[in-house]
Amino acid sequence: MKRNFFIFCAKFFLLFLFFNNAFADGSDPKQFIQEIVDQAKEILVNSNSDKYKSDKLTEIALATVDINGVGYYTLGSYRKDLTKEQKKEYTILFEKYFLKTFVSRLTDYSEPKIDVVSAVKKNEKYTIVSSILLATNKRAEVKIDWRVYTKDPDKPLIRDLIIEGLSLARTQKEEFSSIIESNDGDINALFSKLKEFINS
């Protein structure tokens, strides 16, 4: 009886430890980014093929980036005017576009050395995690901030990358807006541009 009780307590303790760690991993945005950076470092070694890098980075993006959220942010107020079908088409196109740019941007950095340095909680929904891409003989040190969406603390998601204070999501938003505006508000012009880019 005593032995059974001991085994039960040990199992309970291990279970507690497991859930506690899982929660800690999910709820700490700094650790969340550190894990992504570590994975990216392993993927972006020169010996890996481009196909392997692309597939693995796509997996990371799908698991850790709020692609739909970024897509809606990028579209700005125009998303309110979309029909259901247009919204569906945009979501599909944006995901393909996003993954292509994500992979292309990262594969240019071979064997990156990134130090995750700090995290600032802005509010319940957002934490900005700061990191530094260390200098090489080709380029200077680069500051990279990650906007982490923490509404669901167990599943943090990346919503923006801020390179040296410049937001990539904001740039994308202004790029999309420019295309729509220069085509008299026609969203189909943006869809055509996205298709052209995806198929290039």
């Binding site: 003989n137 919503r159 202004e174 790029e175």
Partner: protein, 265 residues
């Protein structure tokens, strides 16, 4: 000539203020908290942008690639010399922005690096507690004083600017002690020590050094943009906004409501 430039600056400043004052209350609120700017004449700017890209492909990029062949220590030293000279423009702007502590820091950096740092080639000032806190110019000073950016346009060779920053660029020439030492050879400013060509060599080297540091970044942006002109405009305006706010992070420079919208709609 000076009179003409004074008139031009006045007109441009008025234009900037009119552009700003002409916006509605809500637009004003949005502009003050974000880095957006309307186009002055987009067709002309896009044409200038294409022209600049062509010049870059033929002139600046090949020179920058050649410059990159030089050993790292030479490139870093050259970059340090250019930064050291730019301190001469930063000091008056630190003062005009009311940043007297920063002005002292910049002046100390200039004095130490010019002497112990062999004309700025090395940066001993950093090691003894005078860190580089970035360049300041008259465009940033106008921004700190509350002047709106005015509209956005692209100049041949000089690239992206706004009405406010263009006025600042003009002031950056006439209000730069380095210009007085070299081109105008002011009797109070090291007369005879430098000549006009030194000014243009410094400007050219600064441009090549900047281009060389950003070869991969520019290629990356070009490869991943569906409207490169709009991307560069966005980066330029965000960067100027960041510099005016003297902020290194997005925390103070991005409008949070842009993101909040996603959850409420």
């Amino acid at each position: 000539m000076k009179k003409l430039i004074t008139v031009a600056i006045t007109v441009l400043l008025l234009w900037a203020n009119v552009a700003y004052a002409g916006s509605t209350g809500s637009e004003k609120l949005k502009k003050s908290s974000s880095s957006s700017a309307n186009e002055c004449f987009e067709g002309f700017s896009r044409a200038m942008f294409s022209f600049n890209q062509a010049v870059d492909n033929v002139v600046f990029e090949p020179i920058a690639k050649g410059y990159r062949v030089l050993p790292m220590v030479i490139r870093n030293g050259t970059s340090n010399v250019m930064i050291n000279i730019s301190n001469l423009l930063t000091i008056p702007n630190n003062i005009l922005q009311g940043e007297f502590g920063q002005a002292g820091n910049t002046a100390a950096r200039f004095a130490i690096n010019t002497t112990a740092g062999v004309l700025g080639f090395f940066d001993p000032a950093e090691k003894i507690g005078f860190p580089d806190r970035g360049k300041e110019d008259y465009g940033q000073t106008l921004g700190v004083w509350g002047t709106g950016s005015g509209c956005y346009f692209v100049l041949p060779i000089l690239g992206p600017t706004t009405v406010r920053d263009f006025a600042g660029t003009v002031a950056n020439i006439w209000g730069d002690p380095w210009y007085s030492m070299t081109v105008s050879s002011h009797p109070m400013m090291a007369e005879g020590l430098f000549n006009e060509s030194d000014y243009y060599i410094e400007k050219g080297t600064t441009a090549v050094d900047f281009r060389a540091k950003n070869i991969e970044s520019f290629d990356n942006i070009e490869k991943n943009s569906i409207d490169l002109y709009a991307s560069i405009k966005s980066f330029y305006l965000q960067n100027r906004n960041k510099k005016i706010n003297n902020s290194d992070t997005i925390v103070e420079t991005q409008d949070e409501s842009d993101w909040e919208e996603i959850d409420t709609n």
